[in-house]
Structures are given as structure tokens and as C-alpha cells.
């Protein structure tokens, strides 16, 4: 037996192809690869736009006039203003491009802060259990079930004290979104921690008498956070939507502080009735495209991480070596999505352990 199984030990792939996204890109086939590539391209364009907004944008985000005078309000698209101007007299194209910068800043701050807090809380709560765990679970469940936009609104009232000039509106928005996301990361990491805690390798460390901190950091933490890149992409799109929602109801960022798509849409609300379409269409499309791109990446990664959802190429007959296949590839022999256990524990979530919300 040893000799045959030696043959099947896979060679270690190169470092390059083991990088997170690169690896998945190679692994994917057909439509899945198409979706992943499309998502990566859109996301790449978004990031590049954010970085090079100062070079790309014809005007500043709060610029109302150039050497030839004021831009004028609600001007239709023209050679000078490709996307026209807003009711406040700003250049729509410039604000759309600068908006990418605001969006990416808020995403990064919000997601990094909430990952940090969520991971620490989830790890400790899931590992030690007890009353602290129970309290944290009930609290996070309650917060999680609550409309995240409302919570973000309440948070931004608190942070800015109702006055948008106290802290920069951008930071206020980012922190509001952070608070909304902490329960999500908490839930995912806690569920993973609880699962990993019951794995034989953790029990084995306990039998050895390894200290709690050693078990937590050497065995649980790295295994529990393996899904984070995936959650990151799924949540980034949510962060953009929440930011835009905040802006739309008037909790965003003053036009003089930064460009924000949601705020611009709010201002375009009355334009629509008079048939002025360019003030709403372009910032709206920007939101849709960015969320679409990031979600495509996230969904593809999610599918690829799940053998049940991953597509494979069909092979020609007679290709390949005769080899040990301990399970039928494609996983048709094993029980379903967590089998019955998945149905029995209401606490865990069916697909990736998270849902999408605005």
C-alpha cells in the first residue's frame, strides 16, 4: 500500500500559484472563471480609479468654477463636462471619480477595524464558552437582526453628535459601519472556533496539556480565519452600500469634504422628476459597478472554496492514471451542506455563514 500511495502525494505547487486569488483563478473553469475574471477586472479598475483619481478627474470634487467662470447648475453632458453638472454646480464626472477614493477609504477602515474586533471577540468567546459567550451571542444576534442602515444612522448621530463638522464625516461613516459589521465577523469566527475546538487536533493538544493561549493561537486562530478573505470581499460590497445609504439619507459627507455617491444621488432626487438623468445615473452606476465587481469576486471565491459548488472540466476517457480515489470526486458520496447537522443547528448559516444586507 505504501508504494502506491507514494505516487499520489501531490507535488507542492509553486509559491505564486498558492497566493489566494491566483490559486483560485487557476482552479476555476468555464463560467466560474468568467465571473471571477469579470469581478477582478471591475475591482481592479475601481482600485486604480481610487488611486489615480487626482490625475483622472478633470476637476476637483468641490470645484465650482474654472478660469472660464462658474460651471453652472444642472448642465447637460457636454464636451467640457462629459457627464454634465449637478444641481449644486459640481462636475458629475469628477465627483464620480473622486467618489471611488472615499469609498475605498471607508471600506478599508471599516472592514479592518471590524475584522480586528470581531476576530478577537469571536475567538475568545467561542473558545472559552461560558456566560460571556452566551451574552455576546445574544447581543450580537440582536444587533445582527437589526437593520444595519438604521444602526449606522444611530451610530453616526452619536459620533458626530448630530453635527457633521465634529470629526471628519468620512471617519464617522467608517466607524458607524464598523460597529455594524463587528457582529458579523464575531458570528463567523465564533462558529468556526467552536467547530475547530471539537476537531481531533485541538483535543489532541488539550490531551498534551498545551496552554490555552498556545491552542488558541497555534491551532485555532489560523484555521478559523481561513475564510476571512472571502468574508472580506462579501462585506466590502456591503460597506459601500451602507455608506451610500448613509449619504442618501443625509448622514454622509459634506460635498466640500469629499465626494460621495450616495450624497450626490440624494441631491439628484428632485432632478429626476424634471427629466434630468445625468446627475443620478452616473453616481448610481458607479455604486452598482463596484458592488457588482466585488460581489462577483466574493461569490466566485465562495463557490471555489466549496467542493459541492465548484465546477470541473470534463475529462476525455482514458486520460489520467489509475489512482486511489478514496471519495468519488465531486463529492457526491458525502452528506449534503453540513448534512443533517447543518439543518439541526440554527445558529450556523447555510452558505458562508453570512448574508448580504444593504
Amino acid at each position: 500500500m505504501t508504494s502506491t500511495s507514494d505516487l499520489t502525494v501531490p507535488r507542492k505547487p509553486g509559491l505564486f500559484s498558492r497566493l489566494p486569488v491566483i490559486h483560485q483563478l487557476r482552479q476555476s473553469v468555464g463560467l466560474q472563471r468568467g465571473m471571477l475574471v469579470a469581478g477582478l477586472v471591475i475591482t481592479g479598475v475601481f482600485i486604480l480609479t481610487a488611486i489615480f483619481a487626482p490625475l483622472l478627474a478633470p476637476y476637483g470634487f468641490s470645484q465650482l468654477r474654472d478660469e472660464s467662470g462658474r460651471f453652472g447648475s444642472q448642465q447637460p453632458p457636454s464636451g467640457e463636462h462629459l457627464f454634465g453638472t449637478t444641481v449644486g454646480g459640481y462636475d458629475v464626472l469628477s465627483r464620480v471619480l473622486w467618489g471611488a477614493q472615499t469609498a475605498i477609504f471607508v471600506i478599508v477602515v471599516a472592514v479592518v477595524l471590524s475584522i480586528f474586533a470581531g476576530v478577537v471577540l469571536g475567538l475568545v468567546s467561542g473558545y472559552f464558552g461560558g456566560w460571556l459567550d452566551r451574552v455576546l451571542v445574544v447581543v450580537s444576534d440582536a444587533v445582527y437582526a437589526f437593520p444595519s442602515l438604521l444602526l449606522a444612522i444611530v451610530m453616526s448621530i452619536v459620533i458626530s453628535g448630530g453635527r457633521s463638522d465634529l470629526i471628519g464625516g468620512v471617519l464617522a461613516a467608517a466607524i458607524s459601519i464598523t460597529v455594524v459589521f463587528i457582529p458579523q465577523y464575531f458570528r463567523v469566527i465564533r462558529a468556526e472556533t467552536v467547530r475547530i475546538k471539537a476537531e481531533a487536533y485541538v483535543e489532541s493538544a488539550r490531551v498534551l496539556g498545551a496552554s490555552n493561549s498556545r491552542i488558541m493561537f497555534r491551532h485555532v486562530l489560523r484555521n478559523a480565519t481561513r475564510t476571512l478573505p472571502l468574508i472580506f470581499t462579501l462585506n466590502a460590497s456591503e460597506a459601500i452600500l451602507t455608506l451610500a445609504g448613509l449619504g442618501f439619507v443625509g448622514f454622509g459627507i459634506e460635498p466640500t469634504a469629499a465626494a460621495e455617491w450616495g450624497y450626490d444621488l440624494n441631491k439628484a432626487l428632485s432632478d429626476v422628476t424634471s427629466g434630468i438623468w445625468w446627475t443620478s445615473l452616473f453616481p448610481g452606476l458607479a455604486i452598482v459597478l463596484v458592488v457588482l465587481g466585488i460581489t462577483l469576486v466574493g461569490e466566485s471565491l465562495n463557490d471555489l472554496a466549496d467542493p459541492r459548488l465548484r465546477g470541473r472540466r470534463r475529462v476525455a476517457q482514458a486520460s489520467g492514471l489509475v489512482a486511489e480515489t478514496s471519495v468519488v470526486p465531486g463529492g457526491t458520496l458525502v452528506a449534503g451542506p453540513g448534512g443533517l447537522d447543518g439543518l439541526e443547528s440554527n445558529a450556523t448559516h447555510p452558505d458562508t455563514g453570512l448574508e448580504t444586507r444593504p
Binding site: A205, G209, A210, V315
Partner: protein
């Protein structure tokens, strides 16, 4: 009469992450009406893939060539599964051929009544009204031995026991009276005593319904019990095909011989255990036991005012230095819980449990920690017993680092290499990740890790139950060798009497949390006193058709008496 099934030159390939893999290679088989053909092989031999092909159930990632000709029971029609359209396949499934699955609890839809599910199969082929389908469902449930089928037809799967669920699955397969049933490891998920009942039922299916059965199994005892003819598969090929009696008495192919030799027999270990007892130094029996349980009780707390669950209900036993105690029981007997309590993974709730002289009832982790270096533990599932992100060497070094024998995994490498050699793994395997090793290799590495600190007590919880027979034989042999060499005392937990017998000095039998019998292998297996042990022993099929027929008779008498 024609054969119900003729497979000619079947080949199947799969697309996998690692590229194309050929699972079945040029297989030809036939099954006559009313015949039981067993396809035997270890994991990866292609036996399950072959079985699924008969029903056209392969996933879309598979490509196949060759022919699978299926005849209807009355011989009126023939169809080639490989070339059928989806619609035609659907017509054949259930009427000409049907399937019995390995795991009855996952083969039944949890949200529908069994009656609905049986009727669904009937109605898929038209002809019957809802009422008629229900009548047929009740009738078939009765015929497979479900008591009170008129009521039970409205039950949901979770209201049946494991053995009854498998009966329901068999009823579903039988309801349209197909000429052929494919049974994929139909008893693997069941306890031995239940397995014997299901095997009886399958035998009745053949005799009463005249149904041919393709029996997919890795268990030679099951083959000996039920099969008329046997095909042995190895790496996608049929290496030997013979009538059951002939295969067991004079196997031709090397692989078959190896496979049969690897099957553990009850009674194998008795001589060895006696020799070891001889060799003990005088006064050995008076030594302080390594583990001593007195009236040990372990209860899992119930949630929110519900009653707790008593897993272990007042058992007493002891393990002396250098002695191997085999703990045998079926699922739910409390054997795993006992092992976990000794390792301090589960809390003792009553009685006394002394491990290395330390009382475990109400123990504190801090006080127990220094004893932990003296305890090793081998887990059941080789797939999850290693941290997937660490190399084998790092995993094996873990105990050395935790107990300060080495400052880091690198410093422990020399010792790790020694250990890997002791469990007969090449040194280079230390640099591999767990998923790059096979199940048997991982289980050996697991042994190496548990022995790193040269413990005086080793707990092995079903260490070989996830392994193939030939791999199991090697691991058991290794275990015995290491035990001789290191001289540790061991608690060896298993559901399989024959496995325990090979290693154990003494055997304890657990049943529903109670210790029903304890003694040397010769006492417990040679002349069991407790009726449960007798039944357990009689239910265990042996890999010899003639002897198994006798034992079956014995079991029948035992059941009739008790």
C-alpha cells in the same frame, strides 16, 4: 435465463482538482437472476463507482465507455445504461434496478414521511394512484419487517432506529419489484448486531422476491455471509472472480490472499495474550493500577431543564502497568466517553476514576497538567487529528515543545525523526502536510505523536476503524510492536471484537453505559457468560462461508432463546 446485468469493458474517468483520474478500468461482470454478487475491495478500488454506474448515478464530471446491459426481471427488455437518455434512465431506475445506500440516516429525506417517500418512487413510474401507492407502501414495509406498518407509514425518518431506517431504505428499493438491487456497503454504518439482522433481511429478499443483489462491501465477513459469487477489485480492475466458497478456500490472486490474511479473526490474540501473561514478573498483579475506575459515572448535562444523558453508568475496571485493556461496545455504549474521561477531556460526574494515581472526579487542569506528559491519545479520525496548517514534523514535535523537552519544533527534529522511524514512516514525511499523507500513514504519525514523551498510558479510540483492512492490519501490528518495545499500558477502544482480541490482555464489554463482562480474551471470547456478549460475538460474521453458515444458525437459536 439471461443475466440481469452484463457489464463489458467498463471504464470510467473523473475530473478532479489534481487532473483526470481513472477510477474503473476495463471491468467486465455478469449477474444472474436471484444471484448475490459481492464486489469486494478497499477504498479507491472503484467498487462504489462501478455500483453507481449500474444506475447511471455518476456525477457529470465522469466519462465512461464500455457497456452496462441491464435486463428487466421478466427478461422482456434490455437496455444499455451507458447510452440511455436521461428520460430512459429514469424509467429503468426503480423498476429494473434500485439501490440500497450505506448510511440509512442520510438516504432518507428528513422532512417527508417514509410513506410519502416510498409512494414517490412508485408514482414516478405512473400507473398507480395515491391511494394504491400508499397501500403498496404499507405492504412493503410489512414485508421488510417493520412492525405495525399502517401507523409507521406516516412516521418521519428520525422516528426510526438505525436498523429500521435501513429496512425502510430496502423497502423503497423493493417496492416496484426490480430484478436487481445494488447494495452499497449496506451494513457499514450499523452496529454488528443490527448488521446481522439486515444481512438476514437481504438474504430473504433474494429468496422471497428472487431479486439479484450486487453487494458492494469491504467486509469479508459480510461477503462470506451473503455472497454467492465474489469479484475482487483493486485499483479499478477486477483481479479475481470466483464462487464465494472457492474464493475463501483457495484464493488465486496475490491481492486476494493478502486481503484475506489481513482480516482479523476472533481468537487470533488468545495465544499471544496467554504468552504475555506467562511472562509477567511475579507480584505484577499487586502493582498500583495505572487507571482505576470505581463505580464511574459520566452524565452529560441536559439543556434548559431537560434530563441529562447518562453515557457511563457505574462501571469499574482497572489497567495495570504494561497491560492492554480492550474496551468493546456498540455505538452509544459509552466506550469513547470512558476514554475521554481518562484523558481529562470529559468531566467525571460520579464515582471515582484514578489516572496515574490522580483522582479525576472534580480534577483541576492545573494540577493534572504534569500527569499529561505520561498520557498519549490516538484519535479515531485520521483526517482531523492533525492541524492542517502544520507539517507532520511540527505536529509530532508539539508534545516535546509543550512539555519543554525542546524549545521549538526545529530543535526537536532529531527526536521526531526517531519517532517517525519507530512508526515506519520515512523521515522525509516529516516535511509534508497532513493532507499529503494517506489515512494509514496519518494514523501512524498519530501514534508517533502520542508516543513522543514515552507515556506510561496510551488511549487509542477506534484508531483503525476509518482504515482499510490491509492498512488496519499493519497499524495493529505496529501498535503491538510499539507496545512491546515501550511497555506502556493501553486502553484500546473499538467496536470490533476481532480487532480488540488481537491486542488486548483483557477485554471489557460495555453495553448502554454498563460493563456487562470483563475478562481475558479466552474467557470473554471463548465462553461468554453475558447474553449480550454472546449475541455480539455470534453476530460478528467470519470470513468463511461454511463456518459463517453454522454461526448464523447459532445466532438464530440464541435470538429464539432470548
Amino acid at each position: 435465463m439471461n443475466n440481469v446485468l452484463t457489464i463489458t469493458n467498463l471504464g470510467i474517468s473523473f475530473a478532479t482538482d489534481a487532473g483526470a483520474v481513472k477510477a474503473v478500468d476495463d471491468v467486465s461482470l455478469t449477474v444472474a437472476p436471484g444471484e448475490v454478487l459481492a464486489i469486494v475491495g478497499e477504498s479507491g478500488s472503484g467498487k462504489t463507482v462501478t455500483a453507481k454506474t449500474i444506475l447511471g448515478l455518476l456525477p457529470e464530471t465522469a466519462t465512461m465507455n464500455g457497456a452496462v446491459i441491464l435486463s428487466s426481471k421478466d427478461g422482456s427488455s434490455e437496455s444499455n445504461i451507458v447510452s440511455l437518455t436521461k428520460q430512459q434512465l429514469r424509467q429503468v431506475r426503480g423498476t429494473d434496478v434500485s439501490m440500497v445506500f450505506q448510511e440509512p440516516s442520510t438516504a432518507l429525506n428528513p422532512v417527508y414521511t417514509v410513506g410519502w417517500q416510498i409512494a414517490e418512487g412508485i408514482r414516478a413510474h405512473g400507473q398507480f394512484s395515491k391511494k394504491e401507492a400508499r397501500v403498496k407502501a404499507i405492504e412493503i414495509l410489512g414485508r421488510v419487517g417493520i412492525p405495525d406498518p399502517e401507523t409507521r407509514v406516516n412516521y418521519y425518518p428520525h422516528q426510526f432506529s438505525g436498523g429500521q431506517k435501513q429496512r425502510v431504505v430496502i423497502a423503497m428499493a423493493l417496492v416496484l419489484d426490480p430484478g436487481l438491487i445494488v447494495a452499497d456497503e449496506p451494513t457499514t454504518a450499523l452496529d454488528v448486531t443490527v448488521q446481522a439482522e439486515i444481512l438476514d433481511l437481504l438474504r430473504r429478499v433474494r429468496d422471497e422476491f428472487g431479486t439479484a443483489i450486487v453487494l458492494i462491501t469491504h467486509n469479508m465477513g459480510v461477503v462470506a455471509d451473503l455472497a454467492d459469487r465474489v469479484a475482487v477489485m483493486f485499483e479499478g480492475k477486477v483481479v479475481e472472480e470466483a464462487p464465494a466458497q472457492k474464493l475463501f478456500s483457495s484464493p488465486q490472486h496475490e491481492y486476494t490472499k493478502k486481503l484475506l490474511a489481513a482480516v482479523p479473526h476472533v481468537g487470533q490474540g488468545i495465544v499471544r495474550a496467554a504468552a504475555r501473561a506467562e511472562a509477567r514478573a511475579p507480584g505484577w498483579a499487586e502493582q498500583t493500577p495505572v487507571v482505576e475506575a470505581k463505580d464511574l459515572r459520566i452524565e452529560y448535562p441536559g439543556r434548559l431543564g431537560r434530563h441529562g444523558f447518562t453515557a457511563v453508568d457505574g462501571i469499574s475496571f482497572s489497567i495495570r502497568p504494561g497491560e492492554v485493556l480492550g474496551l468493546v461496545g456498540e455505538s452509544g455504549s459509552g466506550k469513547t466517553t470512558t476514554g475521554r474521561a481518562i484523558a481529562g477531556l470529559t468531566r467525571v460526574t460520579g464515582g471515582s476514576l484514578k489516572v496515574l494515581g490522580h483522582e479525576m472526579h472534580g480534577f483541576k487542569e492545573r494540577e493534572f497538567k504534569k500527569f499529561r506528559s505520561d498520557i498519549g491519545f490516538v484519535f479515531q479520525d485520521p483526517a482531523s487529528s492533525f492541524n492542517p496548517l502544520l507539517t507532520i514534523a511540527e505536529c509530532v514535535a508539539e508534545p516535546l515543545v509543550v512539555h519543554g523537552r525542546a524549545s521549538n519544533p526545529g530543535a526537536a527534529r532529531a527526536r521526531v525523526n526517531e519517532l517517525l522511524e519507530a512508526v515506519q514512516l520515512p523521515r522525509a514525511y516529516g516535511d509534508r502536510y497532513p493532507h499529503e499523507l494517506s489515512g494509514g500513514q496519518r494514523q501512524r504519525a498519530s501514534l508517533a505523536r502520542s508516543l513522543a514523551l514515552e507515556p506510561s498510558l496510551l488511549i487509542a479510540d477506534e484508531p483503525t476503524s476509518a482504515l482499510d483492512v490491509s492498512v488496519q492490519a499493519r497499524v495493529l501490528e505496529l501498535f503491538a510492536e510499539l507496545q512491546r518495545e515501550f511497555g506502556f499500558a493501553a486502553l484500546f477502544i473499538s467496536h470490533d471484537l476481532a480487532v480488540v482480541d488481537i491486542l488486548a490482555d483483557r477485554i471489557a464489554v460495555l453495553y448502554k453505559g454498563k460493563l456487562v463482562e470483563e475478562g481475558t480474551g479466552a474467557e470473554v471470547l471463548g465462553a461468554p457468560k453475558d447474553p449480550y456478549t454472546q449475541r455480539l460475538l455470534a453476530s460478528l460474521p467470519v470470513p468463511d462461508p461454511a463456518e459463517q453458515a453454522q454461526r448464523r444458525e447459532g445466532l438464530r437459536k440464541l435470538r429464539a432463546a432470548g
